[in-house]
Every structure is written in C-alpha cells, then in structure tokens.
C-alpha cells in the first residue's frame, strides 16, 4: 500500500537529478548515437507506413477499376490490399520491438555511466 508520503508524489518525482546531469547526458556521444539510431529507424518506418496506408484510400478512390480486378479466386485486389495492411502494421511493430531492444540497451548504458559517477 502506498504510504502517506506517496499521496503527494509531486515532490518526489524529480528525485535528485541535478540540472547539470541533463546537459551532461545530452552532450555524450552515447546519447547522440542513441538519438541518431532511433531516428534512423523511426523516420523511415513512419514514412513507409503512411505512404502504404494512404495508398489504399487513394487507389480505391481514384482507380476503382484496377482495385476491383479479381486476383485470387473471387477475391479482388482491393480486399487483399486492405488485408495486407494488417500484416504490414504487425510486421513494422515487430521490427520496431527488435530495434527498440537495442535502444533500451544503449539507454541503460547511458544511465549506468551517469549513476556510476564521472
């Protein structure tokens, strides 16, 4: 059970991180490479899923003939493309989780060094 002191956890929240710590972490090569690594994964992933997703309403809206073409028995391209979006989302999520394991490791090292002193 939380104790009375935890009722107002606002005071507790910032622990004892000095303002110099933020600057110090931000200036390290490790932190810069963490940000760069994240950006290298996240930016292309976001652009890819946005393009892939909006291709669906765009194609369905502006090329209905093409999208009505049957490709698998009676199933048309429109349905298959819509269905593929689910797998696209799951695959990107899985790839991200794998990459994020690496980011966690980098962040852990940064925090470890900070707590271990200079």
């Amino acid at each position: 059970m939380p104790t009375a002191s935890e009722l107002n956890d606002r005071e507790r929240s910032n622990e004892t991180i000095r303002s110099a710590d933020w600057e110090r972490v931000a200036a390290t090569d490790e932190f810069k490479s963490l940000i760069a690594a994240k950006r290298r994964f996240i930016a292309p992933a976001v652009i890819f899923f946005i393009v892939y997703y909006f291709a669906l309403p765009a194609l369905v809206g502006y090329a209905p003939g093409l999208m009505s073409r049957r490709v698998l028995g009676v199933i048309n391209l429109a349905y298959l493309f819509a269905l593929s979006q689910f797998f696209m989302a799951w695959i990107i999520a899985a790839l991200y989780v794998r990459a994020a394991g690496r980011f966690d490791e980098m962040a852990r090292k940064i925090l470890h060094r900070l707590k271990g002193g200079e």
Binding site: S19, A26, V60, Q85, F86, D104, I110
Partner: protein, 520 residues
C-alpha cells in the same frame, strides 16, 4: 429474451465486484489516476484494446460492412494502422515525460498554465463528444436489445451513466482497467465464436464464403431486387468527393488515435516506457485480429441474415446481434448483446476517468492552484466529484437528444479534434526545440476551432446545403493544426522552453527521472 437481461446483470455484478475490490486496494493519487503504474504489459495492452474497441466498432463497422460491403472494411484497416503512430511516435516519450495526462508532456517545457488550460479544454472537448455519442448509442442499443423486457431509452441511459460513475468514482483507474480487460476478453471471445459459426455455415470453406459475398441480394429503396458484389469498393463513398472523404477519414484515424486522451492516459499505468511499448504491441495484436474478423461479422450478416431483414429489425447496428441470433439462437443473441453492453460501459468509463483526471490534475491543481494540492488527496477528491458531474451531464444530454439523434458525426469530430489539436502540439513539443508556449496554444486553438467549424459546415449538419463537402474534416483541419502551431511558435521566442528541450529530450529517450511505479 430476458436471457439477455440476465446476462447484463451478471456482467454488472462482476464489474461491481471488481470496483469494490479495486476501491479497497488503492489509495493515493498515483493509485487512483494511474493504477499505481504497476500494470503489466498484457494487462495494459488488453485494456488499451478494451478502451478503443467501442460499440461503434463492434456494432457500427459490422453494420456498415453488412450494408455497404467493402467500404466498411476500409474503416477497419485504419483503426489498426493508427496504432503505429502510437507505437513509434507517442507512447514511450509520453510515459517517460508525463505523470497523469497528455498536458503533462506539454507543460514539461512550456509555460504550464496556458498549455494546461488549453490541454484540459481540448481533452474535455474530445471526451465530451465521444461520450455523448456513446451514451446516445448506448440508450438506443440497450433498449433495442432488451425491447422485450420493457427497458426504455431513458432507463438504459441512466443505468449506463450510473454504472460508469460508480466504476470511476469508487474504483478509479484500477477498476476501469479491469472492466476493460473483462470486456476485451468477452468481445474477442464472442467475435471469434461468431466468426467460426459464419465459417461453419459455409462448410468451413473460405471460397464458398467469399463467393457468397460477391452475390449479395437485397431490395433497394424502390423495391427492386438488387444483386451486388460486396467486395467492390465504392458502395458507400461515391464520386465526386468519396475518395477525398476516405483519405480525410484515414488521416483523422492515423493522427487522431495518438491524440485521444483516454488512450494516452493508459500509458501512465505501467512501470516504464519498455512496458508501455510492449502494451501497444499487445493491443495491436488484439485490435488487428478483431478488425480482420469484422470481415466475417459484416459480410456474414450481409450474406446469411441479409440487408432486408436487418433493416426491418432495428437497422444497421443490429447486424452483429441478429447474425448471432440466426446462427446460435436466442442464447447466443443474449450473449452478443451483453458483450455490446459491456463494450459501451468500458468505453464510457475510460472516457470519464480521462476527462476527470485532466480536469483535476491539469485545470484544478495546476492552473487554478499553481501546482499545489491545498490538502493531501485534494486532486483525487476533485477528480471523483468531476467524474460524478461528467456522468450526470452526459446522462442529461443523452436524454435531451433522445434515441433518434444522429450522433455518428460526434465520433468523427472527436477524432478530428484529437488529430488536429492534440497530436500536432504533442509531436512538436517532443521533437522541435524551437517550439514554445505560443505555438502550443495557437496549435490547440486552431485545431479545435477548425475541426468544429468544418463539421458545422459539413453534410453531417447542413445536409444538402453543406459548404464543406466532406464528412470528415481531417484533411483540412490537421494541416491547419500543424500550421497554427508552427506559425505560433515562429512568431515568438521562448529561451526557457528551448533550454528545457534538452532535459525533455534526455528524459523522453532514456527514462531518466521518469515517474516510478508505486510498490505494493
């Protein structure tokens, strides 16, 4: 059909027990607002799914597919893909930088009072629109599902409202979470069962199933028999503006989900960013499976029950329950109805807690009283009172609007505001050093106003005389929200905000200084 009422009562009993258990267990702010930040990834993931899969998706999407085929399925797609924005952009930084609300992240490096006031306004607006839509839907639906027992629209609205107040006021986030978990499990179970029955009807042959979908017959408005291929796009969204409306809807989903306050607060209920990430993945698995299965619910209702029968027996929203009745009899109908009821309750409870948290934490404590509780536990007390007031007001509005109000556009509006007001300022304050208070206030105001005005001018409100031709304002209001935020930021400088960006950036990316879980 009092079986349905019986099942409703069982669900109510179970959830009240959960509330009693949660109320005994939790005390303190972080317990009330964030379930002590000690939920596991799967618990929070299932709860996110439970918070998100509203009656609009369960009954609404099944109904749109049953009546308009493929275009309804396009809805389903956006609801899952939207979670990539949550996963890749918002969830982890939010967990690391914030405490209870969306505005926490903005207030981190911007001037707290103006951004919290605007953040609370936007949160309350989104929650209110979404809630009114849910409540009116709930009343209409429950009275329809229980029509043999004499439960009226008013009784249903009051019952749903009262239950939601009890969950939130007494049980806080922990009870709300478990109500959502139970609901999500029921919803998935019911959906899978119903899908299997549909497949069984077609001899477990996908070929037979899809062949039937290509030859759906019904009577049109003139009474002629029409046979349509329901896999063909364009039955709902027609030229000249159909394609733009679809894209606009997609934008509202993709950018709006990551700005929905009741989804965002869920990431404060886990111990750290890594768990927040894992919970999004759990949610994506459940949400994705559910929306794929809408194929069977919707097309199943179209082929097995038929448009004509559904139209005569309650309309589009009854597609899934009627499918259950046709395939599994009255007992299964009662079961699916109870799931729909559970779905509504869980979603309104989630909305109520996010609205009351934002009011108590952002507006009461931080705007009015400059970040200090005047007595221990004040914030929780204020939140409880707010939840009660929010519940009472939404009961009242739902009753005033009545069962026949067209409220579907309110959900579109909630998503549009979330996408056009909330998301731009969250993203810019997390990723743009130059962003400042003026930009946040301008962005929130532009996004909020442009969504409201465009909806007022749209066919949803103005019918044939609409000035703005699309039902979904996102395609215009989202760029306007970003533009407002960027222009606002560029017209002023705020050295303090730029300086504090370093701190936010380190904290968001490493978790240094992030709120910790409460030990039990």
């Amino acid at each position: 059909m009092s079986t349905a009422l019986g099942m409703f009562l069982v669900f109510i009993a179970v959830t009240l027990y959960i509330t009693w258990w949660a109320a005994r267990r939790s005390s303190g702010s972080s317990a009330y607002f964030a379930a002590g930040r000690s939920l596991t990834a799967w618990q929070n993931g299932v709860a996110v799914a439970g918070d998100y899969m509203s009656a609009a998706s369960f009954l609404g999407i099944a109904g749109i597919i049953a009546f308009q085929g493929y275009d309804g399925f396009m809805y389903s797609v956006g609801w899952l893909v939207a979670y990539l924005t949550v996963l890749l952009v918002v969830a982890e930084p939010l967990r690391n930088a914030g405490k209870y609300t969306m505005a926490d992240v903005l207030a981190y490096r911007l001037s707290p009072r103006p951004v919290r006031a605007m953040g609370a306004l936007s949160t309350l607006t989104v929650s209110a629109f979404y809630m009114i839509a849910q409540m009116v839907g709930a009343g209409a639906l429950v009275s329809l599902l229980l029509k043999d027992t004499g439960v009226t629209f008013h009784t249903a609205v009051i019952a749903v409202g009262a239950l939601m107040i009890v969950y939130v006021v007494f049980g806080g986030m922990l009870a709300t979470t478990w109500v959502q978990i139970v609901k999500a499990a029921l919803l998935m179970g019911g959906t899978i069962l119903l899908s299997l029955l549909v497949l069984k009807h077609f001899g477990f042959s996908l070929g037979n199933f899809f062949t039937a979908v290509t030859q759906v017959s019904y009577h049109d408005a003139q009474g002629n028999v029409v046979t349509q291929n329901f896999l063909t796009p364009g039955l709902r969204y027609k030229p000249p503006y159909g394609a733009l409306d679809l894209i606009s809807l997609g934008m509202a989903l993709i950018f709006g989900t990551a700005g929905l306050p009741h989804i965002l607060v869920r990431f404060y209920t886990v111990p750290d960013a890594k768990t927040a990430r894992a919970s999004v993945v759990w949610a994506m698995l459940i949400i994705g499976s559910f929306y794929i299965l809408t194929t069977f619910l919707g097309f199943g209702a179209a082929t097995i029950v038929g448009r004509d029968f559904i139209a005569k027996n309650g309309g589009t929203n009854m597609s899934a329950p009627l499918l259950a009745q046709t395939l599994g009899g009255d007992f299964f109908f009662a079961f699916i109805s109870a799931i729909a009821f559970a779905t509504i309750l869980a979603v309104v409870a989630g909305l109520t807690i996010s609205a009351s948290t934002s009011f108590a934490h952002d507006f009461w404590t931080n705007v009015l009283h400059r970040g200090k509780e005047r007595s221990p536990g004040e914030e929780v007390r204020v939140a409880r009172v707010t939840a009660f007031v929010v519940g009472a007001i939404s009961i009242l509005i739902a009753i005033l609007l009545g069962p026949n109000a067209n409220v579907a556009f309110l959900v579109a509006l909630a998503f549009a505001v979330a996408a056009s007001a909330n998301l731009p300022v969250i993203v810019l304050s997390l990723f743009w050093r130059r962003f400042n208070t003026r930009g946040a206030v301008a962005g929130l105001a532009t996004g909020l106003l442009s969504s409201l005005v465009l909806i007022l001018l749209s066919p949803s409100i103005m019918k044939g005389a609409a000035v703005f031709p699309l039902e979904n304002p996102g395609i215009v209001s989202i760029p306007l929200g970003f533009l407002g935020a960027a222009l606002g930021a560029l017209t002023g400088r705020e050295p303090e905000a730029e300086e504090k960006f370093t701190e936010l950036n380190v904290r968001a990316n490493t978790g240094l200084g992030a709120e910790k879980a409460v030990a039990h």
